[in-house]
Point group: C2
Chain length 352, copies 2
DNA sequence: CTGAAAGCGCTAACAA
DNA sequence: TTGTTAGCGCTTTCAG
């Protein structure tokens, strides 16, 4: 299936009647070669099916490639933890090729900290960058700078409308909302749906779930035109306030079976409430495999989770850059929409 | 995050007051070293945090590793096609390390052809083997031989009860049946369930879905103790006979909404029938992402598919052997149960 | 039991 | 424009 490529640069040199130095020159396009030699060498390479041995290559040019990853910082059990796991996996791969990988975290609610991270990355002189963008304008400025410096970059989680990225790995957000609505309603008679959201003051930061919510709402509009949708905003830092809001929501909805959805990763807020109140009559769907969400799934307070392997996304991003650096091979596809995984209590234990 | 390990074998040698030849000897345990030197060298390695550069290593010992993969042969669109894709991916990875990968196919209904494939593999003198076992006894004999020759082997798809394998990558079969029953019944009132099976004459070959069926039946027994389960056997080679059987089945079941399941990858047989007969009132669940199954899913003749990334299983198997060969690192886990993916019409397009 | 030395295939600086 | 050469870090004879 694959030739045992024992043809070395020496063989090529001999066959072409030149020295290996010259062959190396045409291989790496570092000029200074007569058109005639060049042509001849290329033909010989073709004929012999020469494939460079890149151990030797890496060994000889002991370059210090490095990849920088820019992601939001996080606490244990939060969404970005899984991404970091993926960075570690990718690091493992990259290190096989002598490439170092570094993570730069920023506070996703603080523009300054983001700019700070970008500046640090830039000054570290990376060979490639992986970035999970939250601040639109600042990110565009940053990647512009990367482009100017010819540094390849890969988006993960979400991407922007610029065109210079090497690749993107993330979930199809709109479809995930659509899918979510299908799972939530599941062919039942549904008259009220509650979308639970997180209060966030958004200075310059793009809401990462707005597209998903659109997909959700579209599905409802198409399949349940008479269904009412209510939006409830929860304060992530204030439990009592959350409970109060949810209490009010429950009072207002006349149906006993309530349909609840959360388009971000915090559905455990709802699950905690339901558990404390001893309510088991809701149908709840959320996103992402935080440990707290999984518990809620197992205990039956959440019926389904839609998950993505954000670890694989990060790892794939690093692999893409590694392969570009080492093999000079760009990824097969630029936009890589990763699969949407439906988890319930029976398959969630095999997920990670 | 990772040290720039510039410590070479020379540094170690110097620090230990010996030559690099001696260091190499203790590194590879090829004896002939005094206890004193040995000890000293080990300590120095520890202190300096020496990590061998395996480009140099691979370059120096230009070995010709090869990995053999033994899987059933297949026609286009059949289950094993995806596995082959994974082999190609794994090959891609392995070739980065100068390892060649070869596939050996056998007729899964023909013991001779299996033995033949095994013999070929053995005589090719592989450095590692990936195997999808169908014939129990013959496989056990074969892997015994591999063990004797110290050739590591990895099971994919299913595994046997021997203990010498390096790793296993496959789906948890029992749970997949259990999950399947949950998705099929989905909280509804179910009084009849039809399990559609494939007629196969099984001389010495283990039925790969028996465990899955057990999981399915257990779920029904636990959640629907009064539900009747019927088994229908279809001839894969005779369309008319299949239709006749299904006609009879439909006549016998009084309910309009019928619950149908197939525990192998051929649920498209049922879908074709339903489509031709114009029946849309059934709830049908099957397994695996054959193109024909996906079409049935999109068109609504099948409600859900439970899928597995058998490509990733194969690729992971090859990666495991590669890493063992190159890095001398065995896989982190021996038994790797891959996730069970639930597919419906809204997420299936993002699956592969 | 140990050291010296010759490569593995490729790169890059230096001569020519 | 080209050839020569000294490594990159490790393995493996071959002497001692």
């Amino acid at each position: 299936m694959k030739e045992n490529c024992k043809i070395t640069i020496n063989d090529v040199a001999r066959a072409a009647g030149v020295s290996k130095g010259t062959v190396d020159r045409v291989l790496h396009d570092r000029g200074e070669v007569s058109a005639k030699s060049r042509e001849k060498i290329l033909r010989v390479i073709e004929e012999l099916g020469y494939r460079p041995n890149f151990y030797a290559s890496i060994l000889a040019l002991r370059k210090n490639y490095s990849i920088a990853c820019i992601i939001p910082e996080f606490n244990e059990g939060e969404f970005w933890e899984l991404t970091e796991k993926g960075i570690l996996q990718g690091q493992d791969y990259a290190s096989r090729f002598g490439i170092t990988v570094n993570a730069y975290m920023y506070d996703q609610y603080d523009l300054d900290s983001f700019q700070n991270a970008c500046a640090k990355v830039l000054s570290s002189g990376p060979s490639g960058v992986v970035i999970a963008p939250m601040f639109r304008n600042e990110t565009l400025k940053f990647v512009k700078e990367l482009s100017d410096r010819q540094i390849p970059y890969v988006y993960i989680d979400s991407k922007l409308e610029d065109d210079g990225y090497l690749a993107y790995y993330g979930m199809p957000m709109y479809q995930s909302g659509y899918l979510c609505a299908d799972i939530l309603t599941d062919g039942r008679e549904v008259r009220n749906v509650h979308i639970i959201r997180i209060e966030r003051d958004k200075r310059g930061l793009s809401d990462p779930t707005v597209t998903r919510r659109t997909g959700f709402i579209d599905y409802i509009a198409e399949h349940y035109p008479d269904c009412r949708i209510s939006n409830i905003f929860l304060d992530p830092k204030n439990r009592d306030a959350r409970y109060e809001k949810l209490d009010r929501m429950f009072e207002a909805d006349p149906d006993t079976e309530k349909y609840i959805v959360m388009c971000n990763s915090r559905v455990h807020f709802v699950a905690d409430y339901l558990k404390d109140r001893g309510i088991m009559t809701c149908r709840v769907v959320g996103f992402d495999v935080l440990e707290r969400n999984l518990s809620a799934l197992r205990e039956g307070y959440v019926q389904a989770l839609i998950a993505q392997h954000s670890d694989r996304q990060a790892a794939a991003a690093i692999t893409a850059i590694t392969d570009l650096l080492i093999l000079h091979a760009p990824p097969q596809k630029k936009d890589n929409y990763t699969q949407m995984d439906i988890l319930n209590r029976y398959n969630c234990d095999y997920y990670i």
